[in-house]
């Protein structure tokens, strides 16, 4: 029996595979396809204090080996999330990472205060990197000083370990990783999506109503590997690596680059049972290569 478990923020996870926020709802939506209890963790869609409407449609577009989205963090607000989604997840034997969003420092702090009271939540992931909302989101995640400040602010009130989710839309990802660490983050996760644009050349219009959207999928995977490598080398806190993971090889690669856990994102849309397949295939790779503990490969390329 191979050991797939990893230790992350002083907690033990049965395997390193979770989903990227926003690509798996809160698990309910995919529960007919996936045994949720088999996952390392479930990372929920971003939650804010109050309900958010999100952006106008079209909100999604396919791109070569990937897609763009500009959902705009539509969510029902923390109260509904706790009563409905969290209550559903509580019945499952899987750690829950809740992604938190806000328009301002006050909103982040309020949401973190509210959510960190919940015993069913293992970790909080702070979304300071969404490219599709006008205020908050990426504005906090592309300036090292703002990132430091928001990290400090949420850490001050959080009773749960805090993961800062970083944007790839920066020149120096190592600098951003260090800012989060200095602000007191318990972990970082990366990458969120790349700000991108698609134009319909016949209609002479933007394909997404929001004009820009976040690019994700296998197309950006090698850039994500590079950024996870650079960020994880720059800090001593653990990293969740994500960006276009489509198979066990991509997940293993991400761990070798320095990720302790990995998240599957848009490829869940292509193959709903992908995370389960990846977990199985990581085990097969361990057999094939004589790897006893998956944690042994973390950051082996450093």
């Amino acid at each position: 029996m191979k050991d797939l478990s990893v230790s992350f923020c002083r907690m033990k996870f049965k395997n390193p595979v979770t989903c990227a926020s926003g690509t798996f709802g809160s698990g309910i939506e995919y529960s007919e396809f996936v045994d949720l209890d088999g996952l390392g963790a479930i990372t929920t869609k971003g939650v804010s204090v109050d309900a958010w409407e999100g952006n106008p449609t079209p909100r999604v577009a396919e791109t070569p080996s990937g897609m763009m989205n500009a959902i705009g963090l539509q969510n029902p607000g923390a109260d509904v999330f706790i009563k409905r989604d969290l209550a559903f997840l509580k019945k499952h034997d899987v750690p829950v990472i809740v992604n938190v969003c806000g328009h301002s420092t006050e909103e982040y702090v309020k949401a973190v205060k509210l959510l960190s009271e919940r015993e069913e939540i293992a970790l909080l992931e702070i979304n300071v990197s969404c490219p599709n909302v006008k205020e908050g989101g990426i504005a906090f995640g592309t300036d090292p000083k703002s990132l430091f400040e928001i990290t400090k602010a949420v850490k001050k009130v959080s009773k749960k370990p805090v993961i800062m989710k970083l944007s790839p839309n920066v020149t120096d990802i190592a600098l951003m990783a260090r800012s989060a660490e200095e602000g007191g983050a318990d972990a970082i996760s990366l990458i969120n999506t790349f700000t991108a644009m698609k134009i319909d050349i016949y209609k002479k219009s933007f394909v997404l109503a929001n004009r820009t959207g976040g690019l994700s999928g296998p197309a950006i995977h090698p850039i994500a590997v590079r950024m996870v490598y650079e960020a994880s080398k720059a800090v001593s806190i653990p990293v969740i690596g994500m960006g276009g993971i489509a198979c066990a090889a991509d997940a293993i690669e991400m761990m070798m680059a320095g990720a302790v856990m990995v998240a599957v994102g848009m490829m869940n849309f292509h193959e709903p049972s992908l995370m389960t397949d990846i977990i199985k295939d990581i085990e097969a790779w361990m057999d094939e290569t004589g790897t006893e503990k998956i944690s042994d490969i973390i950051g082996c390329m450093h």
Partner: protein, 265 residues
Amino acid sequence: MKKCRARIVSKKELCEGIFDIRLRTEIAKDAKAGQFVLVFPNDPSRLLGRPLCICEADGDELRIVFRISGLGTKEISGISEDEEIMIEGPLGNGWNIKAAAGKEVLLLCGGIGAPALLQLAKKLGSQKGKEGGPKNVKAVLGYRNAPMNTFLAGDFENAGAEVVIASDDGSVGIKGNVIEAAGEKDIDCDVIFACGPMPMLKAVKSFADRKGIPAYISLEERMACGVGACLGCVVKTAAKDAHSHVNNARICTEGPVFEASEVIL
């Protein structure tokens, strides 16, 4: 709801750019009228399934009729008999068949909207005059012009619907849109089921509103997951949606069929 391989039983081009594909799949037996499937291109650089309505479901056979509207549907249209393709479904809510009980039913089918209504026509046709079934079923099928070959019109007739044909340019049937054609034929109805382009659905919504009768419309939108997770395909709603708690409903999950008065088009 599952994702699985489906084998192509037959493929026909009904008129230029509109394809009729029959698939053998276990998904067919669970499919209800008005639901849809995601059909995945085989090209690995095109990762998202194309949401295509279920035209007919019979035993283990599923029929989809769709128009080429981009590179993905173009690729799917190029598949040959005996080849396999991945599909996911059945997805969405389907038509509210109970709303037809004892009613004069009017099906309004605009162009490539017609396939979304055929299985419903068959179902209603088989229940016509029976308890819980409709009193009568009429269908107006609108086409752009004669070269569109009045595709599926024969299928609606075989399903037991009284069919009226309309075309934008008058080259076949009544000149005008489906609502104008229904008016010219003096069709009386007390419930409408409709699918077609957005300007038509807007007209159906206001027509039903004026007449004070319910209209059920099937919507489309660009989708990613198809199962309600990504929130990519929403429609504005008049009241707060029970799931989202904002004035947005997921077309893939709460839809694709909505009561017209519930949505803002």
